[in-house]
Symmetry: C2
Subunit: 353 residues, 2 copies
């Protein structure tokens, strides 16, 4: 909010209106080291131009396509604000964008972030961007640019929004989905938490309906708090997906975001196929049970809002499935054969065994 | 805000938590025609994949660089919300991003938008994206993707934020700034309004300190309201800049955003040059006088926050200046010789004649 002015007749400054240019300048200084930690050789020039420059002269694709995606962290930002912990939410923003790109078969090249805050505290913005930079390093993409914006009058101090934007590249021949067919196996890759989806429902169920606090244990006996659990950073799948594609003929990836397993798997399913995914073929993280109980949420609603523990699906030929599971596990993730593709009409079902 | 529930024990749904999936689906349907109106031949596939695809196989640059920028519309969104008029703010988002790209010497290729709303009203989102699409058509870039996000609990119904991302391409040999030298002329291109900068100060001065309403005439005798004036869409300069570059050896463009003429011209000035820009060499739009008077804002503060009527500057050799002025005017904008480059130490001065 704009500071109070004791004398309404004295000249008005930008600072009086709630915008602190010096804080912005200080934040920019604090961010530089984080940005530099993500540099790739293709990045041209230094921080501070009107736009970021990235060389594509050495792309090896025969018929290169750029692949672009934008996404935000949704109301997970409110959990971070309530906890006063800003250093991992940037990982979430990167995950949401680069995993959409990787799901199209592409390699992420660069990322830009947009941070809006109610009141610009340089150290808070630095913390957010440190998380973004960590996510970019995980994903192997350069943090090519970004924008900070102070929105007095829209957001309260401490509140923020974080939006990401990623660009990758893929050869036209390598765009996914391609070749999904009856008999294929659906492999699920684990997500220990919510990623960035369903937070409005989770907060309503846990914090309002059940009246729980972020400070109490995540579930009975848990060593970490509910807030820790809800702030758990999203897995960045893109390096594992790139490795998987390098060794196995992947037919499709489905990034499980809003719409859940059913909504997202159906986006990559051809009209002549159905998919059947079976619950209980992977361990569902306890947080989903907690949310469901807190809000008495029906199974069907849970399945359409949350990832239920699988943040990414891969569709492969059954002969490739064992090797695919091995590769994903070698990349440090848990992986499970969770379903199959059948002849059909483009329908996805998710049912208990 | 989440709807009230009359029975706290009944099962909780996503709609109860303030997120309306059906409204989201309806909005997506409404947006398709707007998105299609911006298609370029390089766009691959249809709307609905995890990411947008754009072919760069036919880029003619010898050593191509991608150029990326992100920006938002700041608290201009509050004026739109207060006026209930959402159909031009998208033009502003496009202008902010593509003109940063054009200032680097690049041609904008594609754009993505991120709209967050307190409560998702499909027709309101359609209106916002219709403006984005209009901006994209003006700039000649494809609307390649976007995201809508409902943020109950952060924003009030009717409030929104709009963030844009643009990607362009340029040959490495054509990146600007390049060759700014003593003797060069600074050409200013007109901005009839604020673009997206300084809204927190403008709103504070006009609406709070001076107690004016958005419905009254913009200034004494004006036929349009203060709200109309403040919502005036940003000029999209990129087509004029591309035309200018095609015919004249431009040394630099400076996109006049936060920091004003001085702050942005100094970003393209080499260490061994100064720039001197003279006020009164172009007509300053009346809205700036209104803001300055309303808040008793010193000249210096006005100059560092607002564009004062010049949204883009071009730096050219003095021999090219007359032709450059002609080309910009032929592209439908007003243009003025407003300053000069001298030997110096990287300082920009803006002074009255």
């Amino acid at each position: 909010m704009a500071p109070e002015r004791d004398d309404a007749s004295r000249p008005l400054s930008y600072a009086d209106a709630g915008v602190d240019i010096a804080a912005g300048d200080k934040a920019v200084e604090l961010l530089k080291a984080h940005v530099r930690s993500t540099l790739r050789p293709e990045v041209v020039g230094d921080i501070g131009g009107f736009a970021g420059l990235f060389s594509i002269g050495r792309l090896t694709a025969r018929d290169p396509l750029l692949v672009a995606s934008t996404d935000g962290v949704g109301t997970k930002s409110l959990v971070a604000a309530r906890m006063g912990r800003y250093d991992t939410i940037g990982i979430d923003a990167v995950a949401m964008c680069v995993d959409d790109i990787a799901a199209s078969g592409a390699e992420p090249l660069f990322f830009l972030d947009y941070v809006s805050v109610g009141h610009l505290v340089p150290e808070m913005v630095e913390s957010i961007v440190a998380g973004v930079a960590a996510g970019c390093r995980d994903a192997g993409c350069a943090l090519l640019g970004g924008e900070m914006s102070e929105h007095p009058g829209i957001m309260e101090p401490g509140e923020f929004d974080l939006v990401g934007f990623a660009v990758g590249a893929v050869d036209r021949a390598g765009v996914l989905p391609a070749g999904v067919a009856a008999g294929d196996v659906v492999i699920g890759i684990d997500s220990p938490g919510l990623r960035c989806n369903g937070y409005s429902l989770a907060r309503r169920a846990l914090l309002e309906v059940a009246g729980r606090s972020l400070e109490e244990p995540a579930w009975p006996g848990a060593a970490h708090s509910l807030g820790d659990e809800l702030l758990r950073p999203s897995v960045i799948y893109s390096p594992a997906l790139l490795r998987l594609r390098a060794e196995v003929d992947v037919h499709a990836f489905a990034h499980v975001t809003g719409g859940g397993i059913v909504g997202n798997l159906s986006r990559v399913l051809p009209d002549h196929c159905d998919a059947k995914v079976t619950r209980d073929t992977w361990p569902e993280p306890l947080i989903f049970r907690e949310i469901q109980r807190a809000g008495s949420i029906p199974d069907d609603e849970m399945e359409h809002v949350f990832n239920l523990g699988l943040g990414m699906l891969a569709v492969v030929d059954p002969d490739d499935a064992p090797r695919a599971l091995e590769i994903v596990r070698a990349a440090g993730r848990q992986a499970f054969a969770v379903g199959e593709i059948r002849s059909g009409t483009g329908r996805v079902t998710l049912a208990r065994a």
